[in-house]
């Protein structure tokens, strides 16, 4: 131990370069452009990537590529991974509290409550992965010699416009239910407050979540959402982060390949969610099997 303590300048901190999260990697925007992100008092916080249509396209490709394995994984496995996300977030709680406080102009205590709720939300959905099929699926007592079962299946690639106001709890509340059931997601972060979403990408990358299951884009919501709503390889869109005009425009575009559309609606993200966001992106598949008798008992005349 040295006694000599020199008076030095305060240490210059290392800024973080916020990057997109696409296909398990952290690219800059293909456009090469960024935009300034400020706190609620207009202080500069960071530059965020300004995603282009091509970034959206790349994200869809990544999400589609990931869909087979993620939807084919066991529900138990998906539950473990969602729980792992909660574990990883817990460890980086302080960082997210700071980012949420900055983004939403909240006190540290209020921001902490948001982050805690978001962590707990991952735990809630982690538990749903292997239960939702039992709640919404089941056997159908058809009138005939058939065994008939209806089971939920993920819709596919879901574009998610994260809520604009609730930059982290809202984000988690819309992303977790989409992937819990086996969908993959292209998430457009809150336009004004994208930093918690971009940081979430870093957590997802270290939570055993396969690359491409969640892809996070930042930028102008309307610009990124338009190509996603029109994209023929996107199966559904959650319009939570769209205003009324944009929502109508996107829903109209989404009709081209009959995307499932979840319209924007008032949501209290602090309340315990129901299963509506889970079922919004589920298909029901009904499979018929003949049963008949054990032996050749004969048919009626």
């Amino acid at each position: 131990m040295s006694d000599k303590t020199e008076k030095t300048e305060p240490r210059l901190s290392v800024f973080k370069t916020y990057k997109l999260y696409v296909g398990g990697k952290f690219p800059r925007s293909e456009s090469g452009r960024v935009y300034e992100v400020t706190d609620s008092k207009s202080n500069w916080l960071a530059n965020a990537p300004l995603s282009s249509r091509k970034d959206a396209r790349d994200a869809v490709v990544a999400a589609r590529k990931a869909f087979g394995a993620w939807s084919g994984a066991t529900a138990y496995n998906r539950g473990q991974i969602l729980y792992r996300i909660a574990e990883m977030l817990e460890g980086r709680r302080e960082q997210f509290v700071r980012e949420v406080a900055d983004a939403e102009g909240l006190s540290k205590a209020k921001a902490a409550a948001q982050v805690d709720a978001a962590i707990d939300r991952w735990v809630w959905y982690a538990g749903w992965t292997d239960k939702i099929a039992q709640v919404v699926g089941g056997g159908n007592p058809v009138a005939g010699p058939f065994f008939n079962l209806s089971m939920p299946e993920p819709t596919g690639v879901v574009a998610v416009l994260a809520p604009q106001e609730s930059s982290f709890l809202g984000l988690v509340s819309v992303v977790a239910p989409v992937i819990a059931t086996g969908n993959t997601a292209v998430v457009v972060a809150s336009e004004e407050s994208p930093l918690p979403a971009l940081s979430l990408g870093e957590v997802l990358a270290t939570s055993d979540l396969p690359g491409g299951v969640v892809n996070v884009l930042s930028g102008r919501t309307a610009e990124i959402a338009a190509p996603l709503a029109a994209h023929q390889d996107v199966n559904a869109i959650d319009l939570a982060g769209a205003d009324e005009d944009l929502a109508k425009e996107l829903e109209t575009a989404a009709a081209d390949n009959l995307k499932r559309v979840l319209r924007p609606q008032p949501v209290d993200y602090s309340a315990t969610p129901g299963i509506d966001r889970l079922t919004a992106f589920l298909e029901t598949k009904t499979v018929w099997h003949p049963t008949g008798a054990l032996g050749a008992s004969g048919s009626s005349y």
Binding site: P145, P290, G292, A296, G298
Partner: protein, 320 residues
């Protein structure tokens, strides 16, 4: 009209080379989905056969009946009455066709022969320790030879269901070929599977092919002595088998549902099955039969109804 060939047609000679080849072949036949088979049979059962078609079908059905008595209490008198009825089913209407055959136990063959003498009605005899078939082969063959010697035109044998269910297909095959040999050239052989005891449709398809490979002239569902006898579904399945067998070998084999067919309506449904599964080549009593007893009177009453426009009653047909 294709003719009947000796056992194991050349195309399939390898199949019966050994127990294992036979087993592999029978187990390699396409499976049968029970629900689908029964649905198809039921759907054909909804055909509506009216007026001229009904008249045709009733006469055809009468001509296909193997008029049967297989009781412990059979007597020469009973068999003679049956023979007379087979030749002239409706004494009030001589245009009524004769039945195809009378079917009796071996000891009644001579009586039956006499009763149908001078007509085209054949005499069929159940043999091979009918209905159980549980006797030594030598006894079964003696049973067959006696019946043939007494003048039987047709032999209805039962297979050894025990051997079949135990998977001893070659034993079943050998027994059929031995009986076929005992039939000689004068008697046609009907092979009864007792489908109700084989229980599954897969087994019925395998038994059908086994019987045909061994030289059966007819494959027949049942003895009429167990709980489940002829059904539209098992008969449809056997019709598919004879259809496929002819397509593969050129050899045509007849089909005889027996037991449980009691009404004209039932009989017509079977004829529809024949018509729409194998077609008119089988719509002839050389290739399709009904093993039945009470069926004939119902056919006769329906025939009278068509002729007169009035419903008939049991007092207007003969009770034998």
């Amino acid at each position: 009209m294709p003719t009947t060939a000796p056992a194991a047609p050349a195309e399939l000679a390898d199949v019966t080379a050994s127990d294992s080849t036979l087993r592999r072949f029978l187990h390699g036949l396409p499976g049968v989905d029970a629900v689908g088979l029964e649905a198809r049979a039921a759907s054909l059962g909804t055909r509506s056969i009216k007026t001229t078609a009904k008249a045709y079908a009733i006469d055809l059905a009468i001509s296909m009946v193997d008029l049967t008595t297989l009781e412990g209490a059979d007597t020469p008198g009973k068999v003679r009455a049956l023979g007379a009825k087979a030749v002239h089913p409706d004494p009030t209407d001589r245009t009524t066709p004769a039945t195809a055959a009378v079917c009796v136990y071996p000891d009644m063959v001579a009586v039956a022969k006499e009763a149908v003498a001078g007509s085209d009605v054949k005499v069929a005899s159940v043999a091979t320790a009918f209905p159980a078939g549980r006797a030594p082969l030598s006894v079964k063959l003696a049973d067959v030879r006696e019946a043939v010697a007494a003048g039987a035109d047709e032999i209805d044998m039962v297979i050894d269901r025990g051997a079949f269910l135990a998977g001893h297909y070659m034993k079943v095959y050998d027994e059929i070929t031995a009986v076929k040999e005992a039939c000689g050239t004068s008697a046609r052989l009907k092979v009864i599977f007792e489908t109700g005891e084989l229980s599954t449709y897969d087994n019925i398809r395998r038994a059908s092919w086994l019987g045909m490979l061994a030289g059966a002239d007819f494959i027949k569902t049942s003895t009429g002595k167990v709980a489940v006898n002829a059904t539209p579904a098992n008969t449809l399945l056997m019709l598919e088998a004879v259809r496929d067998f002819r397509a593969q070998t050129g050899v045509q084999v007849g089909v005889k549902p027996a037991g449980g067919i009691r009404t004209s309506k039932d009989a017509i449904k079977f004829l529809v099955l024949v018509n729409e599964t194998v077609g008119e080549d089988w719509l002839d009593n050389h290739w399709f039969r009904f093993g039945a007893s009470s069926l004939l009177n119902d056919l006769l009453m329906q025939r009278q109804k068509l002729a007169t426009g009035r419903y008939s009653g049991p007092d207007y047909v003969t009770v034998d």
